[in-house]
């Protein structure tokens, strides 16, 4: 690890480059628990089916079942991890072939799962954080009449997410990919009686679909190029393919990733998705689903390694979102939306790291893992606040909550420490790695990462001080108190992760060594000394914290947002005009096109049909007039006929 700790503790940061290992073993060969790892998915599927089909009969115990079917896979995951750690590096990728899935002509996609160090990390993140959030939800949703349904949807999400990370081919990954999208749709729109929730859910799904176009195209290109969509075969043959095609595949996959991970230009749905219950925001829109894009890119590293252009685009997307998300986070007064901006920004970090290629894949996953913990912690704490403030989210009506919600304040502060990167907490390790890696590859990206770190410090301090410090600005009707233990205990667990996750990953469980066989690793060379980087970073953090503290903790915060602000603030409050752009560029032209086509179909296409019909009947009405019933008319017609026939005869004789 090229982190501060490592620079201090180790004498050498010269690390060897590592090539990825593509070998896999079948589940049968691996034996033991590996033959059963499909149970990881089966449990939540079972829970979902029971809860959704069972209906109201399961209301009484549904939440317990829902939680259990996530806890059990977590246990299995831990057991698998221990098993896997005991295996040689080239024996760690296990493929379980279950049945022939889609076979059409020369297209085949098996129902096959793959458990390797990368997916292992995800399995533990999903089931671990997932379990905690399930437990939290028991308390958080206790008053909701549809709590059982909520757990059913959560289980659906867990199952789909696990399928996403365990799939052994892109088509099956697609199933998980859309499955989490569906779960997100259902959960964002969980309170469907609110129009805003329904609209937000739809928006999220549709924008994700735009990304799915990319995934579809990527898979199609893979099939026509490699004749297969399975990971091993695609990765093995990647080198033989034409560079342009690989770049196209990379860009297509990037499009998919931007949709799922709320990166520019498909970022606009994430803020609206905060309409969902807070546990959903924590689990899906912070910790797991939105990071699926990062997973996709890292998983496809064999392709991206061969497509430097695609990789550079990933980097650009990452940097842009990282900064823009942070800017949005700085200006939003809605606690959850501010956190959502932060999520965008942090995933931007991951994309930046992934965009650095083999030098950054590992750090992307590292940061992802850290982010999963501290962001879940932050969201759950925010949920705890919201739960006790009558579902309000306007930070301008919070303040001084530390006096009544001690535990929540503590957990939020732990998350604050985790995300800002104060040594020696989570981000200190993961973000520094990214910063250094970026500096070593692309100084511009490096500077952006440092700047974004400063912004992170600013908006987190802003949130912290506006919510928990300063003066009370509560509305009349709220009487905040601490949340019940069923909520606070998971928060405490997650705070522990936010505080010590980084240390654990670096010193106890060497994540880099664990992942490099999958992702490969190429160390970079820093243009300036390590310590200088760290000093600059910490200085930036300090500036950010100080600015925000002076602005929001020491001065009074007005209850309505001030009007005379800089244009940047105005833009940031409006999420950098993302909705306006989408509306102007796609929705309005789309509506006009639709309206025109409806008109065209009625008047144009069907008009021709109806016109023909009325033309025929009109003609027949005209012809009907010839049948006027007057014998003399008929006689005249006969004369005309005689005349015509005779004329024809005569003319034909002449001719």
């Amino acid at each position: 690890m090229i982190s501060l700790a490592s620079t201090i503790l180790s004498t050498s940061d010269e690390e060897p480059a590592v090539e990825p290992i593509t070998a896999v073993v079948s589940a049968a060969e691996a034996g033991g628990l590996f033959e059963w790892f499909w149970l990881l998915i089966a449990f939540p599927v079972f829970g979902m089916l029971v809860l959704l089909i069972g209906g109201r009969r399961t209301n009484a115990w549904g939440h317990l079942l829902g939680t259990a079917v996530v806890l059990v896979p977590f246990g299995i995951g831990v057991a698998l991890l221990i098993d896997m750690m005991g295996r040689a590096e080239d024996q760690r990728s296990v493929v379980l072939h279950m049945w022939d899935w889609t076979i059409a002509g020369n297209f085949t996609a098996d129902m096959a799962l793959r458990l390797d160090p990368l997916s292992m990390v995800f399995v533990l993140l999903i089931t671990g954080v997932g379990s905690l959030i399930h437990i939290y939800s028991i308390g958080y949703m206790s008053h909701d009449p549809d709590r059982r349904k909520f757990f059913g949807f959560l289980n659906l999400f867990i199952a789909a997410m696990l399928l996403l990370v365990l799939a052994n081919n892109y088509l099956l990954l697609y199933v998980g990919w859309e499955g989490v999208g569906l779960a997100s749709y259902l959960l964002v729109g969980f309170w469907q009686y609110k129009n805003s929730a329904a609209v937000a859910a739809k928006k999220a799904f549709v924008m994700n679909r735009v990304g799915d176009v990319g995934l579809s195209l990527g898979i199609m290109l893979m099939f026509v190029t490699f004749g297969s969509v399975a990971f091993e075969e695609v990765f093995a043959a990647a080198g033989e393919a034409d560079g342009t095609v690989v770049t196209l595949i990379g860009l297509a996959l990037l499009l998919a990733a931007t949709g799922k991970s709320a990166q520019y230009p498909l970022q606009a749905w994430l803020l609206d998705a905060m309409e969902g219950p807070t546990p959903v925001s924590a689990l899906i829109h912070a910790a797991t689903m939105v990071t699926a894009g990062v997973y996709l890119i890292v998983r496809s590293n064999a392709l991206f390694d061969l497509a430097p252009i695609a990789l550079n685009v990933v980097l650009v997307v990452g940097v842009v979102t990282m900064v823009a998300g942070a800017v949005i986070g700085c200006a939003n007064d809605d606690l959850k939306k501010s956190l959502a901006g932060s999520t965008m920004s942090q995933i931007g970090y991951m994309f930046t790291a992934a965009g650095l290629g083999p030098a950054g894949y590992v750090f992307a996953i590292f940061h992802l893992l850290m982010h999963g913990m501290f962001k879940a912690d932050l969201f759950l704490s925010a949920g705890s606040v919201m739960h006790n403030m009558n579902d309000q989210l306007n930070m301008r009506r919070f303040g001084a909550l530390r006096t009544v919600m001690i535990v929540t304040t503590g957990t939020f502060f732990a998350g604050f420490l985790g995300i800002t990167g104060v040594p020696p907490f989570d981000s200190f390790f993961s973000k520094d790695d990214i910063i250094k890696s970026a500096l070593s590859q692309n100084w511009l990206a490096g500077i952006a990462t440092i700047f974004a770190a400063g912004l992170t410090a600013f908006y987190m301090t802003r949130q912290l001080s506006m919510t928990f410090f300063g003066k009370k600005r509560w509305t009349q009707d709220v009487k905040p108190k601490e949340s019940p233990p069923v909520m606070t205990v998971p928060m405490i667990f997650l705070s522990a992760g936010a505080l010590f996750g980084g240390l654990t990953m670096v010193y106890l469980f060497n994540l880099q060594e664990w992942l490099t066989p999958i992702t490969g690793f190429t160390p970079g060379e820093l243009p300036i000394p390590d310590w200088a980087v760290e000093v600059i970073t910490i200085a930036t953090l300090a500036i950010g914290v100080t600015l925000a503290w002076r602005q929001y903790a020491t001065r009074d915060v007005p209850e309505t947002p001030p009007v005379n602000v800089t244009p940047l603030t105005v833009a940031a409050r409006k999420s950098l005009y993302a909705d306006a752009i989408n509306e102007g560029l796609f929705m309005r032209p789309g509506q006009h096109l639709t309206r025109f086509l409806v008109w065209f179909d009625n008047r144009g296409v069907d008009g021709i049909v109806r016109g023909t019909a009325s033309g025929v009947s009109g003609l027949s009405n005209r012809l009907k007039l010839l049948q006027n019933g007057y014998a003399r008319s008929y006689a005249l017609t006969m004369v005309v006929g005689v005349l015509v026939i005779a004329a024809i005869f005569i003319v034909s004789r002449w001719v």
Partner: protein, 527 residues
């Protein structure tokens, strides 16, 4: 007697019995209809189970009897995988529709005042007749026999729309009939041409389909005959721009009729293309494939965009189907086994998902007495099961992975991509539109605050739920385990490809390794 003949006779017998039950005894008529429909389904399942996918024979359960020997017309039946899938679809949907549409006629009567509510048994008798005809189309091996079923099928549907529908049902029924008859007329001309060609080829007329495959037809003649058949099938399918009867028919018929009409009956169009157009006129098919692909792509987007702008649910589903039929024809005329398998799979999936859409929407419409989306709102709060099933139906229509429609749509796109990369890439954008029209409609009708007219909705009852359940099971079951269907379809498609003389483009990597110049593979495959 072939099991296929039995399959066709059972519903016919049933329809006669239903038709002769006492007028007052409506419930008994319904039960008899259901019993016969289920019996047909059971026989169909027996046929499906007994079907040997690996058989060397192209057609199974073949039976051939002389009918009009002088004209070389025989009563010949038999199925391949494609026909079998569609027979399965038809026989599955009919009992479902009867069970789900138990009170369709009465409810349609309530919706449009002045409609006679009597003679419910006529509706069910017609439905059984329709089933027999549908089976007849899918199992006919004689082209003339196929044509006869193709035309006769109009009669029950005409009455089912015109007599038992709602709204402008007479207009819709006549429009449907005139459109279809126009297509049938053109097909009749082509059929006569084909008959003459067979006379020339064999020295004696012979309309037995497997024999016709060995004919050698002049390319110009092929072109004419191809278009003759194709136009008829395009109207039936329906393809843009001969689609305008479909929204009217869908909007004016009972949910059950609409289900059978769009779910099964329209498949005759795509089935006909796959069964008759391609094998009989291979050169013409390949020659005109680009034109048809273009029409299909227009249809895909046109249907989707117009669907977004619809305010009537049933009409909207009609347009959605136009979009989906675009996918099917695109798959058929892409001439890759992947795309054709996908298209066949799509036929099954579309049938089931459309059935769900129409039936669940029918439940809601019969409660609200209106099909206008704006008349709904917040249904999910009062009837969660109905709204949930509606969502499931919608998701299957937008080809969410996990439903069999996903593989179908994806295979069509992949298969098309092999030959027409840019076309497929462009068509992929339609999946966004699919999400838009389904979710936009769902959002407007099912979510949000409960609207006045929706309050007091009863959630689905036992009958309504369990009528839909088989569809959900098959849609999701085949989504995760499609082998039973794929195993049957694949050999049939391979055979069709063989008859047409088309081969799959090899993967670019194989090209690259063979030529050792790994360049232009995308452009290469795009050609």
């Amino acid at each position: 007697m072939s099991i296929l003949t039995i399959l066709g006779i059972i519903p016919l017998v049933g329809s006669v019995i239903v038709g002769f039950t006492p007028t007052k005894d409506v419930a008994r008529a319904k039960i008899i209809a259901l019993v016969f429909a289920v019996a047909t389904f059971v026989v169909a399942v027996v046929a499906v189970v007994g079907f040997d996918p690996n058989s060397a024979e192209p057609f199974q359960y073949v039976a051939q009897h002389d009918w009009i020997p002088a004209l070389g017309i025989s009563f010949a039946v038999g199925v391949d995988g494609i026909g079998l899938i569609l027979v399965f679809l038809a026989t599955l949907l009919v009992p479902v529709v009867i069970w789900a549409g138990w009170n369709d006629v009465e409810e349609a009567g309530e919706q449009s005042p002045g409609q006679t509510q009597g003679n419910v048994r006529g509706y069910f008798a017609l439905m059984l007749v329709l089933e027999a005809m549908m089976i007849g189309v899918f199992v006919s091996l004689d082209v003339v026999l196929f044509y006869i079923f193709f035309e006769v099928i109009l009669i029950p549907v005409y009455f089912m729309i015109g007599r038992y529908g709602t709204g402008r049902r007479t207009y819709a029924a006549v429009k449907f009939l005139v459109y279809s008859l126009l297509g049938g007329l053109i097909m009749l001309a082509a059929l006569a041409g084909l008959w003459y060609v067979s006379l020339q080829n064999f020295g004696g007329a012979n309309m037995y389909f497997p024999d016709l495959l060995s004919m050698d037809i002049d390319p110009t003649v092929q072109g004419w005959l191809f278009w003759g058949f194709f136009i008829a099938f395009a109207i039936k399918a329906p393809l843009w721009p001969v689609h305008t009867w479909l929204p009217d028919a869908a909007g004016s018929s009972t949910p059950g009729t609409a289900t059978l009409l769009i779910g099964v009956l329209d498949k005759i169009g795509t089935f006909g293309m796959l069964r008759l157009c391609l094998p009989l006129f291979p050169e013409a098919s390949q020659q005109y494939a680009p034109v048809i692909i273009a029409i299909s792509v227009i249809g895909i987007f046109y249907g989707a965009l117009v669907a977004i702008g619809q305010s009537d649910m049933k009409r909207m589903f009609g347009y959605v189907s136009i979009s989906h039929f675009g996918f099917m024809t695109m798959g058929i005329f892409a001439f890759t086994s992947v795309a054709q398998t996908g298209a066949t799979f799509y036929m099954l999936g579309h049938g089931l998902s459309t059935a769900m859409l129409f039936l669940v929407a029918g439940y809601l419409i019969s409660r609200r007495k209106s099909a206008q989306v704006t008349d709904f709102g917040g249904v999910v709060n009062v009837a969660p099961v109905a709204a949930g099933l509606f969502l499931i139906a919608g998701l299957s229509a937008l080809a969410l992975p996990g439903f069999m429609t996903f593989q179908a749509e994806f295979l069509v796109l992949v298969g098309t991509f092999e030959r027409y990369a840019w076309v497929a890439a462009f068509s992929t954008l339609a999946i966004i539109l699919a999400a838009l029209y389904i979710l936009f409609m769902y959002q407007r009708s099912m979510t949000g605050p409960t609207s006045e007219g929706v309050k007091g909705f009863k959630d689905l009852n036992f009958r309504e739920r369990w009528a839909i359940a088989p569809l959900v099971v098959v849609l999701i079951g085949l989504g995760f385990y499609p082998s039973p269907a794929m195993n049957v379809i694949n050999p049939a498609v391979e055979r069709t490809m063989e008859w047409v003389g088309a081969t799959n483009p090899p993967p670019a990597i194989a090209d690259a390794t063979a030529e050792a110049t790994p360049s232009d593979s995308v452009e290469g495959s795009a050609r």
